[in-house]
């Protein structure tokens, strides 16, 4: 099997985006309806709340094909369920400590607050994460058979 492609033009990263129903998913919709351009590298998983995310799904994505993960939630204070986004933030902060111990750079997992009216910000964020992850190359785990 060929060595996984390192940083190069031909590497197209896969981004898995876990988006909350009330803000970021709707923001992504707005990006579409207002014809914002962003790279097609992102696959969206629709959640009711960023607070519904368990890190096991983020890790599973990174080990099973994703090169980057975006978790999108409502801005602080705007959570439809009051505090799901704050809880997601605590979980992501722990996740980053764990990833650090395993030698995985923290830029693989992005947590961003994008509201329903921020279609432009959604498109910008996807452009940004795609470019960053493209530079980083394929996820550390995903091509390894022994993890």
């Amino acid at each position: 099997m060929a060595e996984p492609a390192k940083t190069n033009e031909n590497f197209e990263p896969r981004i898995v985006a876990f988006l909350c129903h009330w803000c970021t998913y709707t923001g992504a919709d707005l990006a579409g309806t207002t014809r914002q351009q962003y790279p097609p590298n992102v696959r969206v998983v629709h959640l009711m709340c960023s607070g519904a995310i368990d890190v096991v799904y983020v890790l599973k994505a990174l080990m099973d094909g994703a090169d980057g993960v975006l978790i999108g939630g409502c801005h602080p204070g705007d959570c439809h369920y009051q505090s799901g986004n704050f809880k997601a933030r605590r979980r992501v902060s722990i996740l980053n400590k764990v990833l650090e111990q395993f030698g995985i750079p923290r830029d693989r997992v992005w947590l961003r607050w994008i509201s329903a009216s921020e279609g432009r910000k959604f498109a910008e964020t996807i452009r940004e994460i795609t470019a960053t992850v493209k530079d980083m190359g394929p996820a550390e785990f995903k091509e390894q058979w022994d993890v």
Binding site: M1, D54, V55, V56, L59, K60, M63, D64, G65, P76, G77, S83, F86, K87, R89, R90, R91, V92, S93, I94, L95, N96, K97, V98, E100, Q101, F102, G103, I104, W110, L111, R112, W113, E140, F141, E143, Q144, W145, D146, V147
Partner: protein, 369 residues
């Protein structure tokens, strides 16, 4: 808190056991959970209801096959209905505090008795060494390690070996005396029942001794963490260190903090269909079985490290001798420092994953980056 010394004649085990006998005889408690020597050798926990049958109790058992906090979460998952004393090491008491917060222990009828802990040996190694259990306990109490044994890794880096939580605390550090410290209400009860008297004087040198022991352990801990980082500092090296994991779940099954009745790894989420395995093999060319060993450890780290009390039963439970406790304690230290959280210290400190502050962790969401 009130403090006094127990009559002991140089025998801490005897002194503590006299106290336990008094507790049961005078009805302060109706049952008592404590480490005990089994008739066939080796130690376990046992629940004593007969004051005449307390001989097997060995509060400083040289091994900890089962974490007392976890055992208590079975015993008192629902209220036992009778006043129950539990004799715990500091790490077991800390686990119990976490489990009360996680609603796995109903504490209403529990009287917590915590002992200063000189540490324990690995169960299998201790059995193989052939040392008598009581002799082993005495050796540990004297500050030495029984022949043919080592202190468990988790014990050798334990910064909190002193009895610091619990209604009754038994002190041994700092001298030949055995002291008892009790919360005022419990102390009054004990005095009224003439179980013990509180003179107001404990072990003179204890504070100094505890301080010195803590410093020694912190040093050992930092050295071990530095060595661990050298040996496992990259993904490749860490993978190598954990390559013999068979995903038996023993670390999780024995961890007092892993309280979920059904772990996600034992749920249908991880009962993959055959086509999934085929897809992994096709995509990568090769796929190790069992799959997701690293994912298991990483997920468990995420779920429980904020409450990891550092007892190291994961090490004891691992059939492959993986450095589970070292990895978990290393990550837990970073996580707990981030939230300024000390698991097991107090029922008043909220578990980090159950609360949040609006103005914290701004960098996590890309602000200020």
């Amino acid at each position: 808190m009130k403090i006094g010394t127990l009559p002991n004649g140089g025998d801490a085990i005897k002194a503590a056991n006299e106290l336990f006998k008094g507790l049961l005889e005078k009805g302060i408690v109706e049952e008592l959970m404590a480490p005990a020597v089994q008739p066939g050798g080796s130690c376990s926990l046992a629940l004593f209801a007969d004051a005449e049958r307390l001989d097997p109790i060995l509060p400083w058992a040289p091994v900890m096959p089962v974490q007392g906090g976890r055992a208590l979460s079975k015993l008192a998952f629902t209220d036992p209905g009778v006043k129950t004393g539990v004799v715990l090491r500091p790490c077991e008491a800390r686990a119990s505090v976490e489990l009360i917060k996680l609603k796995q222990i109903v504490p209403d009828n529990i009287l917590f008795i915590t002992v200063d802990c000189p540490g324990t040996c690995e169960v299998a190694a201790f059995k193989a060494s052939g040392v008598d259990e009581v002799e082993g306990a005495k050796t540990l109490l004297s500050g030495k390690v029984p022949e043919g044994n080592n202190l468990r890794t988790a014990c050798s880096i334990c910064e909190n070996p002193a009895a610091e939580v619990g209604e009754i605390r038994i002190h041994i550090f700092g001298g030949g005396d055995v002291a008892i410290e009790a919360e005022d209400e419990v102390a009054t009860k004990l005095e009224e029942a003439e179980v013990v008297t509180f003179s107001g004087a404990g072990i003179a040198g204890r504070d100094e001794a505890v301080k010195a022991l803590k410093a020694e352990r912190v040093k050992a801990r930092d050295e071990l963490f530095a060595k661990f980082d050298d040996e496992t500092g990259s993904l490749e090296k860490l993978k190598e260190a954990f390559s013999t994991c068979i995903r038996c779940y023993n670390c999780m099954e024995n961890c007092p903090i892993c309280y979920c009745k059904v772990c996600i790894f034992k749920s249908p989420t991880f009962e993959h269909t055959g086509d999934k395995y085929a897809a992994w093999a096709m995509r990568k060319g090769v796929q190790k079985l069992p799959t997701e060993t690293m994912l298991f450890h990483m997920t468990r780290l995420n779920h429980m490290s904020s409450s990891c009390i550092g007892c190291g039963v994961c090490d004891t439970a691992c059939p492959m001798g993986l450095p589970v406790a070292t990895l978990f304690r290393k990550v837990a230290k970073g996580v707990q420092e981030m939230f300024e959280y000390q698991p097991g210290r107090s029922l008043d400190d909220d578990i980090p994953l159950s609360v949040f502050r609006e103005d914290e962790l701004q960098a996590e969401s890309g602000s200020g980056k």
